[in-house]
């Protein structure tokens, strides 16, 4: 793997780390399987790209992308909480609707960012090569998000959100308005995904409606890889695990694609990802089964 490819993998891993953290919030903390991210990621990219072309400040454009993501999350949460549609289905409905919304936002399937200033522009030309600047800036943003989110989740509000996901009945008996916490959590999760979309558009120089496909699987893969390499109970560490998992996942993919002997090509990415996630989900089950049969029959394992 070349140096450029290595830093490229780290960079895209850091961008998707925000998706991984968002997925961790919905899947793990709220126990709410939310596929909205497949739509809110390109939504963030689209909103950011369109605003950049209109000459808006890149930080404001990124913030707007996060808010757009949050709004998408609120739609899913409303369908589920208010109208009692199954969470999975509610999020699929929003995701499908967002495909059309994203086309409307951009006015065409993809938008190129060529000469526009991005959040990265001020850091170019300071003596550090561009391919290293990008992961550094994105990494700083991710670090800030991890710190803020860790602090948020240890607040009274954040603790109530965690309780909502673990034991909603108990949370309600303790006076937690569980509905409000689902709204807030899913909005936050998709805001992070929207922000990731904005960073994706700015680091790659384009926004495209199709970039959203499989976002949820990539995010989930990162969460699972992170939980495997960093099995932490502490929340802050679990968030770091999401980041580490996302980078490791990208490095593994890069390695697989660049090893000519395996014969994979870039278009195999989604297949590789799906297989990886499936294996990661199946492994713990097989492990548990193995240890059960060992417990029953101690001699057999040796």
């Amino acid at each position: 793997m070349s140096e450029i490819a290595l830093f490229g993998a780290i960079e895209i891993g850091l961008v998707y780390a925000l998706v991984a953290i968002g997925v961790y919030l919905s899947f793990r903390i709220l126990d709410f399987p939310d596929l909205t991210v497949d739509g809110s990621f390109p939504l963030g990219a689209a909103v950011c790209a369109v605003l950049l072309i209109a000459g808006v400040n890149p930080w404001l454009a990124s913030l707007a992308a996060a808010l757009a993501g949050a709004a998408a999350g609120l739609v899913t949460a409303t369908l589920n909480v208010r109208f009692k549609i199954l969470h999975l289905l509610a999020s699929i409905l929003t995701m499908i609707a967002l495909f059309s919304v994203n086309l409307r936002v951009m006015g065409r399937p993809n938008v190129a960012l060529l000469m526009q200033d991005t959040v990265l522009t001020p850091f170019y030309g300071l003596g550090v090569p561009d391919h290293i600047v990008r992961p550094l800036v994105v990494g700083a943003i991710v670090a800030a998000v991890v710190l803020l989110l860790a602090r948020f989740l240890s607040s009274e509000f954040g603790l109530a959100m965690r309780a909502t996901g673990v034991n909603a009945r108990m949370a309600r008996a303790q006076g937690v308005d569980t509905d409000a916490h689902v709204y807030a959590g899913i909005a936050l999760s998709n805001a992070l995904t929207g922000l990731a979309g904005a960073l994706f558009a700015q680091t790659n120089g384009f926004a495209d409606v199709t970039t959203g496909i499989g976002t949820i699987v990539v995010g989930l893969a990162a969460v699972i890889v992170g939980e495997t390499v960093l099995p932490a109970r502490a929340l802050a560490l679990a968030l770091v695990g999401c980041v580490v998992g996302s980078i490791l996942y990208r490095l593994a993919v890069q390695l697989a694609l660049s090893a000519d002997s395996i014969g994979l090509q870039a278009s195999d990415l989604n297949l590789v990802t799906a297989v990886l996630v499936a294996v990661a989900l199946i492994l713990p089950r097989l492990k548990a089964k193995a240890s059960r049969s060992t417990a029953r029959n101690p001699g057999a394992a040796r």
């Binding site: 009274e156 309600r172 008996a173 006076g175 569980t178």
Partner: protein, 265 residues
């Protein structure tokens, strides 16, 4: 003070499984009273407790707590007034959160939850002192996940959690039914202590007639969604389990008691 006026609750209205679970319960419970509630399966005990807690909204009648009409309040809104311990030790706490996190959740009951730290050092110290008073040695395990505790320990912590936010009403829904006899006795003694120390108005549902008479100062018997027996003071002091059974049989129009669980002393 709890005032319940003619509340009715029906489940599955208009379906073949329609169940009229509460059929006009009228009750007034003065502040600080410890009431035990008995009745056979399906008598409406849990529904009655649920209707006080807000899980079940009465379709008719009125419930007021401390002078406030709470009839239409949902569970989270009533949580500032009412604390609960469930039958299932798993139900009353979050297994995946630590002991101190569970306590912090309970301590914020009835308050707005803001962005302040849930566990500051002052609060940690307060929790440590409170949990040390249980005498279970849990003060050194505040960082352990709740799921690591035994059922009895979890019920003890749940009882403690019920006192952290200063609510004056405690609802116990067969909170010792899932425990072994020795642990159940410990939790019951703890219940008595906590109720007395915090001067809580308490309703305890139990399957055991013995417990119903030994604990508290008033006993209610529910049958088919109505209060069929309400004894306190001298009359109650003179009662024994066989008397209670006889009274129960009489209330049912002399029908034989088929529910074995009622016979358990």
């Amino acid at each position: 003070m709890i005032a319940v006026e003619d509340i009715h609750v029906t489940f599955g209205r208009g379906t073949p499984l329609e169940k009229h679970a509460l059929r006009g319960v009228d009750l007034s419970i003065p502040e600080g009273q410890f009431v035990t509630v008995i009745g056979s399966n399906g008598a409406g005990k849990s529904t009655f407790l649920g209707s006080l807690a807000g899980d079940v909204l009465a379709e008719q009648g009125r419930i007021s707590i401390d002078g406030a009409d709470v009839t239409r309040w949902d569970t989270p809104r009533r949580a500032g007034l009412v604390a609960r311990v469930f039958q299932d030790p798993m139900a009353g706490s979050c297994a995946a959160l630590t002991i101190e996190e569970n306590m912090a959740l309970a301590a914020a009951r009835g308050r707005r939850r803001g962005l302040g730290l849930a566990l500051g050092s002052d609060r940690r110290k307060g929790f440590r002192d409170r949990i040390a008073a249980l005498g279970l040695g849990l003060e050194n395990r505040l960082h352990d996940r709740m799921g690591l505790l035994s059922g009895g320990q979890r019920q003890a912590v749940s009882l403690l959690m019920a006192t952290l936010a200063g609510s004056k009403i405690l609802l116990l829904d067969e909170h010792t039914a899932a425990l072994d006899p020795a642990t159940a006795d410990f939790v019951l003694d703890l219940t008595r202590r906590i109720v007395r120390d915090n001067r809580l108005t308490t309703l305890m549902v139990t399957h055991s007639m013995r417990q119903a008479l030994d604990y508290g100062d008033r006993t209610l018997m529910l049958h088919e969604g109505r209060v069929v027996l309400d004894v306190a003071g001298e009359e109650r002091a003179g009662l024994d389990v066989p008397h209670l059974l006889a009274l129960f049989a009489k209330q049912r129009g002399g029908a034989e008691i088929s529910d074995d669980s009622l016979l358990i002393g």
